[in-house]
């Protein structure tokens, strides 16, 4: 049995998290199968919240299913679809369902998703959601009302080390720490040198940092991310390597690239968050090849 995410941090272990994107529709067998494969290889498993603003099963019920399977789920919650009542209500729900970790995010704009005419909410953003967790953990709601029973949630957040200009991002990173974030999973990073610079800055603070890694599956996918995913920068040499690998060796090369990054940065950060988007069945192999199993 793996330690929970919080226990791994507390024990000073190199923490590993995976990620599950709930499907659109009610067929969850494949997702559960992927999650099952990760058992014993990850400390925690993130469940995304209508990722990319595409409507799917809610994060919270899926977290509960993973919990029953033996995972320590990380409930991702965004401000995009919920006002402050709904956010608090879902956070209390997480507590009673035994979900301990909550990753607080602002959320993508709805224009990116499949319901472009939806009314975006954004009543609270990431920093304010972290503050909300802090309030609920302290037994009070956001309006200052006393509650019957408090939460004991472990709040995390996200930071984008490749964002340019970086200064306003770092300012927000500091605000998230002040608002109670205990751990960070970064947006996808590929350039180890840039990541080292970020870690130098981040080490001033007593928080856990996990490098966010997205598995490259082709040169085209890398180019797509550079073009359309803000805050992600895949260096030219990695794109060339993916191109040279060709179709047959692409996944293998993607895993190599990820393992090299892990080896180079392992001593600097507190863990990795592995996003094998659509290829979750590869997470155990990645963990083994990186020498983390």
């Amino acid at each position: 049995m793996k330690k929970t995410l919080k226990e791994a941090f507390e024990a000073g272990e190199f923490a590993i998290t995976g990620e599950c994107g709930p499907p659109k529709g009610t067929e969850i067998d494949q997702m559960l199968h992927h999650a099952e494969g990760m058992l014993g290889y990850v400390h925690g498993i993130n469940v995304t919240d209508n990722q990319s603003s595409v409507m799917r099963i809610g994060s919270l019920p899926v977290c509960r299913l993973l919990k029953e399977m033996g995972h320590d789920p990380v409930f991702q919650i965004t401000g995009r679809d919920r006002n402050r009542l709904a956010i608090q209500s879902d956070l209390l729900g997480a507590e009673v369902l035994g979900i301990n970790n909550v990753l607080c995010l602002t959320g993508d704009g709805v224009q990116a998703g499949d319901h472009k005419d939806a009314k975006p909410v954004f009543d609270l953003e990431s920093v304010q959601i972290l503050r909300t967790v802090e309030a609920l953990n302290g037994g009070k709601d956001l309006a200052g009302n006393e509650m019957k029973g408090s939460t004991s949630l472990f709040p995390g957040a996200v930071v984008t080390p490749e964002s340019r200009p970086i200064e306003p991002q770092l300012m927000k990173f500091e605000k998230k720490i002040k608002a109670g974030a205990k751990f960070f999973q970064t947006q996808a990073v590929y350039d180890a040198e840039n990541f080292k610079d970020f870690m130098k800055f981040a080490r001033q603070y007593d928080v856990k940092i996990m490098a966010g890694l997205v598995l490259l599956t082709s040169a085209g996918m890398a180019n797509y991310m550079n073009k359309f995913v803000p805050g992600v920068m895949v260096p030219r040499n990695l794109i060339d390597r993916m191109k040279e690998a060709g179709k047959e060796k692409a996944i293998d090369t993607g895993i190599d690239i990820m393992c090299e990054f892990i080896n180079e940065t392992k001593d600097l950060c507190d863990g990795v968050h592995i996003m094998a988007i659509g290829k979750e069945e590869l997470v155990p192999e990645i963990v083994k090849r990186a020498g983390l199993a």
């Binding site: 602002t106 304010q128 956001l142 996200v158 964002s163 991002q169 927000k172 605000k175 803000p230």
Partner: protein
């Protein structure tokens, strides 16, 4: 100013399918600046409606169509033309349309324009949204840049992860309001302004529908009420 544009003719055609004669009202203020409610625009609309088989019985352009007493007095001069029409078409924002709706309860009143946003003019014909009239201005610490309006997500504690080389993830060549605020405050040596965490916004400062009395009128009304009460008290004695 309320930035607006005239609806596409297909929409107007569908909306006015049961109308044969119409009286047109423009607006001398925002709609005129937006080329959607001035003299030339009304003339153009009159021609277009003629092409649809709709006769315009008369036109008027009040100084500001949202000013109910003023529009009322202007309309008095056009009583016969309104009488001859079976509908009123208004080339202004929805405020103007509702002025006419309030004044002519027994007639159908149609919006010819779409109101888009409360806008600033960057150059003639080019408008941008800077203010949402949210009832609680907090841009003193943000270099006079409003993230409630100029950030797609309206967030109050710094840029989201979607900012891309200083531009908003939504595209449209929109700069990130938070990067703009950061750069402006840096020039002013006031970056410390950004350190405090903003609490959630008080949306109750803008509960729809809003009402507002200007202080002079408020005082006048209070005095009138006090007088009425004094009179009543005297009567009771």
């Amino acid at each position: 100013m309320i930035v607006q544009e005239t609806k596409p003719i297909e929409t107007i055609r569908e909306m006015l399918k049961d109308v044969k004669k119409i009286f047109l009202v423009g607006c001398g203020d925002c709609a005129t600046v937006c080329e959607a409610g001035g003299p030339d625009d009304l003339k153009r609309m009159e021609e277009a409606l003629k092409g649809e088989g709709i006769e315009v019985t008369g036109t008027v352009i009040p100084d500001t169509s949202c000013h109910i007493p003023d529009v009322k007095s202007q309309m008095k001069k056009h009583a016969a033309e309104v009488e001859a029409a079976d509908a009123i078409g208004v080339m202004s924002c929805g405020a103007g349309v509702q002025t006419l709706g309030t004044l002519y309860e027994e007639m159908p009143v149609f919006p010819i324009n779409n109101a888009l946003f409360l806008g600033n003019t960057e150059r003639f014909g080019q408008h941008v949204e800077f203010c949402s009239a949210c009832g609680e201005c907090r841009i003193d610490k943000l270099g006079a840049i409003c993230p409630i309006t100029r950030c797609y997500k309206g967030i109050l504690n710094g840029p989201c992860g979607g900012v891309n080389d200083g531009m908003c993830e939504i595209g449209n060549d929109t700069p990130c309001a938070w990067v703009l605020a950061y750069e402006r405050l840096e020039k002013q040596g006031r970056l410390d302004n950004l350190k405090d965490t903003s609490p959630p916004k008080r949306w109750s400062a803008h509960l729809k529908p809003m009402r507002h009395l200007n202080p002079t009128l408020k005082k006048k009304m209070e005095e009138k009420e006090a007088k009425r009460k004094a009179k009543e008290a005297k009567k009771a004695e």
